[in-house]
Symmetry: C2
Subunit: 506 residues, 2 copies
């Protein structure tokens, strides 16, 4: 096993240049691989990570302070994600065939065969809060490789040693599976990330992090001589709307569920519900149930000092807002001040905070009161009428998720589902937004500023971000890729002459 010095040094310009050249070469070779080969690459990475779990998890614990059980679960999710996206590599080309048709209404139609091909090297900015699932071998990496695009992975500064070691394992697995040299590389440092994003050898970017950094990088990308797609997932407050009917039927369950969902992972999930709207007349009962549960949640260190400081600042600003009252002040419970305990990289344990406001106050100062507070702080919002709640809901513009706790016989509940679908990527009914299933129908993304683009960063449709369509016109059978051959040797689902033809083995 390689010994890695801590901290991992930043990638130099010279090394970055060499890595980008290798990625360029790999892009051509990877584009020529078959879906079955790409599936093999991803499964081999997944197997290698599973085998290395006992080595990696202690490193992750040390660098992120996340508990072992969570990290083991996240590793299982990560390797499942790699395998699932690998299994999709063939289907993801979205093969469409229009046979030659002399009677096509706009004049004789030639033989047209369309597939999606990889864009080229993808620069992935890893997230800090999921050191496996949204990091080196996470969803963006899996999606890019499934598409046939090489990955240059900009490691998150919060877990450098884990990133370096995971990157080595990914590279070794790709080598073992016969992937082209240069299909994957890990780079370190803000400069390397920024330089790579502006390099013409990079064809797309993917990012998970703060709205500030996301927008900065999006602007850099847009200003390139050759602009490229940049997919940023930047978090949100994920509002929850509890209707009078739901509050009347199961207020305690909802309070318990809210506390659990908002505090899982110490509130460091991008889908953390940061706001819960409850009927004003049920607020005392809601708080009577929620406060002890929040208070009973043990203080924990946050991911790193930057997160701790950011959370403390956002919490203080919210708490000082004239429209907000502090129900439970985490600062008094666990303390956010004090020096870091782990080499200066982490703050002291942080206890959760619960704040209270009204929907009128929120609507009057939406920017201040709907800003994400990444960490264990959330805001209970009381409302006095259905109209007030719907007005508040209509004021949101871009959220990853929105949750309705309601009753389907209640008009307000039905109105809310329609309203929140206008601004959220995922709409939940009587469930909680944390826990994003890696699946076909998942959508993790939403209107700006929750995300840029019209795509998901989780689930099988995430592959589409790193592809572009190519149509082959009148190309003879011998020169067609297998995906488009008449006899469908890869047994893909395809659209042929307008009709959907399922995969032959189904």
């Amino acid at each position: 096993m390689t010994t890695i010095s801590l901290p991992v040094p930043d990638t130099t310009r010279e090394v970055l240049d060499a890595l980008l050249t290798r990625a360029s070469s790999a892009a051509l070779a990877l584009a020529d691989t078959t879906p079955a080969q790409r599936r093999g690459f991803l499964h081999t990475i997944a197997d290698a990570l599973d085998n290395a779990a006992d080595e990696l998890i202690p490193v992750a614990r040390r660098e992120t302070h996340l508990p072992e059980a969570r990290l083991r679960g996240e590793m299982a999710r990560t390797t499942f994600q790699l395998r699932l996206l690998g299994d999709e590599a063939g289907r993801a080309v979205e093969a469409i065939i229009d046979s030659a048709d002399p009677h096509w209404p706009t004049g004789s139609r030639p033989d047209l065969r369309r597939l999606l091909v990889p864009l080229g090297p993808v620069l992935v900015f890893a997230a800090g809060n999921f050191p496996f699932a949204f990091s080196v071998a996470g969803g963006d990496t899996a999606a890019a490789l499934a598409a046939g695009a090489p990955v240059v992975l900009k490691a998150h500064s919060g877990h450098p040693e884990l990133s370096a070691r995971t990157g080595e394992i990914v590279e070794a697995a790709l080598r073992e599976a016969g992937a082209p040299d240069g299909s994957f590389a890990t780079v370190f440092g803000t400069d390397a990330g920024r330089d790579a994003l502006q390099d013409q050898r990079i064809s797309a970017g993917a990012f998970t992090g703060s709205p500030y950094a996301g927008r900065l990088l999006a602007d850099l990308t847009a200003s390139r001589p050759v602009p490229i797609p940049f997919y940023a997932e930047m978090g949100s407050v994920n509002p929850v709307f509890v209707t009078p009917a739901a509050a009347g039927a199961r207020l305690d369950d909802i309070a318990d569920g809210y506390v659990a969902s908002s505090l899982i992972g110490a509130g460091q999930f991008c889908t953390k519900p940061g706001l819960v709207f409850v009927p004003e007349h049920t607020a005392d009962d809601f708080l009577a149930r929620a406060v002890p549960a929040v208070r009973a949640t043990a203080p924990v260190p946050l991911l790193n000092r930057a997160i701790s400081d950011g959370h403390a600042r956002a919490r203080r600003e919210l708490a000082a807002h004239p429209g907000v009252s502090v129900v439970l002040d985490g600062a008094d419970e666990g303390g956010v001040a004090g020096a870091g305990g782990h080499g200066g990289q982490v703050g002291a344990d942080v206890a959760p905070s619960l704040l209270l406001t009204t929907s009128m106050a929120l609507s009057a100062d939406r920017d201040a009161l709907t800003t994400e507070c990444f960490g264990p702080t959330s805001l209970v919002v009381t409302y006095t009428s259905a109209d007030e709640l719907l007005d508040a809901a209509r004021g949101f513009s871009g959220e990853l998720t929105a949750t309705v706790h309601g009753d389907e016989d209640e008009q307000l509940s039905r109105d809310l589902v329609g309203t929140v679908a206008r601004f959220a990527g995922r709409v939940l009914w009587n469930q909680w937004p944390t826990g994003v299933a890696v699946s076909h129908a998942m959508q993790h993304g939403g209107p700006y500023p929750a995300a840029t683009g019209q795509f998901t960063s989780v689930g099988t449709t995430s592959i589409r971000r790193f592809q572009r369509p190519v149509t082959l016109q009148n190309v003879p059978a011998a020169l067609l890729p297998d995906e488009l051959k008449e006899d469908n040797p890869l047994r893909l689902p395809r659209r042929v002459d307008g009709l959907d033809v399922p995969a032959p083995d189904h």
Copy 2:
């Protein structure tokens, strides 16, 4: 019939503001329409245009100088396009259902149902060269309405009266079909277009035109407080590669085909082949066949004075290049100087030009020699070896189309197909790129600078540009849209638990 003064006045800020507010309201109402309703809107527009053809075509002739037969064909294509995209409105939601699964490998999976919903009001910048198919009621409009998005159409200055009248017909048809008020509006003037693109009520932009204007608008869009997708289709030189085998077998046919394709519509197609690579030893024979055909092509006026001037300038620059020789100088045949003959809006008739260079010269000054010359001028490029041709091919970066005239038994032909697929959106074999079939497998778009984004502006997959995914989690049956109901009342093709389920009536 409304009398329209000429020129149509620019849309004022006040009128634009009112139109954008109407479009915003329409967006909410349109998002709630069923696919069958949207299909009805598009079919009604198509019927109305077919009925108005005898009124519109003379206006188009007067404003664009295009011949009647071409305009009739383009109208037929336009109404077919509206109907085809309307027929796709249901399928285009790409419904995906993952049933609740307690045994899902990453933990119990909730019921997840995903569909694509409309983005909101789309600003469409019409093109000048296809006054029907890429203008007011063209492909971008059809795609946006099929998605359920209102359209604000920025008319092209080259055919204002046609745009105004077509816009009236579209609005009346939508009213007749019961579409929400504000589903469509036409605006005039550069300021109106630029202001609308920066307005927060616009959710996406689509553009067909020059790389210069496209990039300017793309940069404006990227700098908005809330960035939005902007799809620009900006043309290209559409190189043609003739291999020695093809030249040996059918040089005359290829020369005839090239001349016809490069001069159809006086070279004013974005898919016009502007460069043809031929083996050096066949160049004399190629020119012996091509020159009389080019010379026999009657001079015609171009679309408008700006196009005439731009073509004359680009042709002069190419002709003056030290690596280029003039085989046939259109300026000497028909003359591009002189005052406009139609109210100053159009230049004199323009005769075609044919220029000659070598692939070595082209590779040495690629920027100068691969710039699009929009109009009836094209460049024959000789090459002396397979390696030289492949090198030249590898130098292209973003083209709408690339064409190979080859022989499938020839290694060079096979290598070329793979090489050109790296930079082109559509690869043609032994055919010609002009004539873009409106179909399912069509791709009209390509890597930058041919286009931005990873989408097509022609064909049924063009709808995807104006949609975003929403996933409904655990939402009860009564609150689901029909697209996602368990019994599939709309009879859509869907993906259910990973398996493709074709539309029930197929």
